[in-house]
Symmetry: C2
Subunit: 303 residues, 2 copies
């Protein structure tokens, strides 16, 4: 039995044949009685997660296919023997798009021009920065980081990519410290894991040169937010953040008024039309499972 989050998902996944039962659960309240028979479960995006006891009721559960790129909240809820699959690929393109949008908006000073437009002010030949021929460090070599790197290279940015393990075209994490002092931007695209939490520390930020831009489209917990706030307050660095710690950011939080900052409310992934990609992936995965093919996006134990 397959459990999908809503009618739209059922319609998008389409016909699975006469022998496959499909139920719906939107993740709220109690699961439907048939949940105990579910073998392949697609929980809704960004739902309040059921507790481990509720999940354990699905005694025949084999696969949990989530629709978010990040799986961190699920890690201690997945019963033994159940395969957890991430939504890698659903949000990567839109999140990379937002990272580039925000990074370029900051470097090309678009918020300033929004104000000038409202004031009907045509400044003669104002000069802004640019990432053309500028060193940019992308932290993370997954779907998001790879797309960001490709896009920025279209403008001749000199992109270096850093990830856990060095490989051709990718620097290892041990090279991060030596790369930082020459970068004009640091784009954070790593998953939120125990290893990445606080990775962009006060020391990392301090190693960036004056005027560099920090972009975080991953998770707020990866960047030392207090240290970032101090760098922004000193007007030494610039930043674009789509994620904060906590979320939602309280109205009285000092980050709102930090200078040199563009902030969006976690809009990287959930654009209009994202369900099309989400349910397409869900449908592909369900069919792979039914056909006993290899699942994609399996989250390994060493995540």
């Amino acid at each position: 039995m397959i459990c999908l989050p809503d009618d739209a998902a059922v319609a998008a996944v389409g016909d699975l044949g006469p022998d496959v039962d499909v139920i719906e659960w939107d993740g709220s309240g109690e699961p439907p009685p048939q949940f105990t028979d579910v073998e392949f479960w697609v929980p809704p995006y960004l739902a309040v997660l059921p507790d481990a006891a509720t999940i354990a009721r699905a005694g025949r559960l084999q696969v949990i296919q989530v629709l978010s790129a990040g799986v961190e909240p699920w890690l201690d809820r997945v019963p033994d023997g159940v395969t957890l699959c991430s939504g890698r690929g659903i949000h990567g393109s839109t999140t990379a798009e937002l990272a580039v949008a925000g990074l370029l908006a900051v470097r090309r000073e678009l918020p300033r021009f929004v104000d000038a437009q409202r004031a009907h002010e045509w400044e003669q030949q104002p000069r802004t920065g640019s990432l053309v021929e500028a060193p940019v460090l992308v932290l993370g070599a997954g779907d998001i980081g790879s797309r960001v790197a490709t896009a920025l290279r279209a403008f001749d940015a000199e992109v270096a990519v850093v990830a856990r393990h060095a490989r051709p075209g990718v620097h290892g994490m041990d090279e991060l410290t030596e790369l930082l002092p020459t970068q004009q931007a640091l784009v954070v695209c790593v998953p939120n894991t125990p290893q990445t939490r606080g990775l962009v520390s006060a020391e990392v930020l301090a190693a960036l040169p004056d005027g560099a831009i920090v972009v975080n489209v991953a998770r707020g917990q990866i960047v030392d937010q207090d240290a970032l706030l101090a760098e922004l307050g000193a007007r030494r660095l610039y930043a674009f953040v789509d994620v904060t710690d906590p979320e939602p950011l309280p109205a009285d939080h000092p980050l709102w008024d930090a200078p040199n900052l563009l902030l969006t409310p976690h809009v990287g992934g959930g654009t209009i039309g994202w369900e099309r990609r989400a349910y397409r992936l869900a449908g592909q995965q369900v069919r792979r499972w039914l056909n006993r093919e290899q699942l994609h996006n399996v989250v390994d134990a060493g995540y």
Copy 2:
């Protein structure tokens, strides 16, 4: 004899050998007396252009190497037998960067989030548009258009390129009309020529579907600005324009207050550091000419 615009250009071009005389003229007032002996002239960027009679004083002139991508104002000033070279490649990367910055800022609604940030408002899961898997038409297959296409494809936009002549990967201008009704964005990156003036007409704009975004980083004269204003006023289309007709845009011009519009004051090319690319090209071209090698960026008569 070589004529360069300023000290910085002379320093950047560097030593040309003992037999090559170099003079400077910033383009203002009368040219220096030695201008009559100039064979290779690099006028300053965006200067007030000397009239044809002044240019004709340089009776030994062989090459004019301008530092702008557009050469339209020069066409009727170039003496017979003198080669005109454009600044293609100097501004392409920064202009493409701005086109993508503005296009994504509009589609991902960054101006709205600037306001929300100032108001300390964290909207829960707002959903914006995205160009992921969206059809986008890039008008112009030159340096700028090619870079825009590459960048947008990094986010899985379905980019079609239209130029004067069809070739592999590029649609001909005769296919424009049939392509328009499915596009979510039209990015204008063609030079300003008699053939392109008014090319993005009221009919072209009307053929775009509701909600599409028009981007103009080329020249204001290429788009029918009154027709664009009407489409924006009806809130049927969106736009990002870095160029207007006229420039500077008068403070009382209705375009300033058009809804759905992001406007910047012709900042595509002249970013901090653009001279490095400009004088690098000038130096390469001077050396090619001295070595009797083929010049790059030669503007042909059929431009």
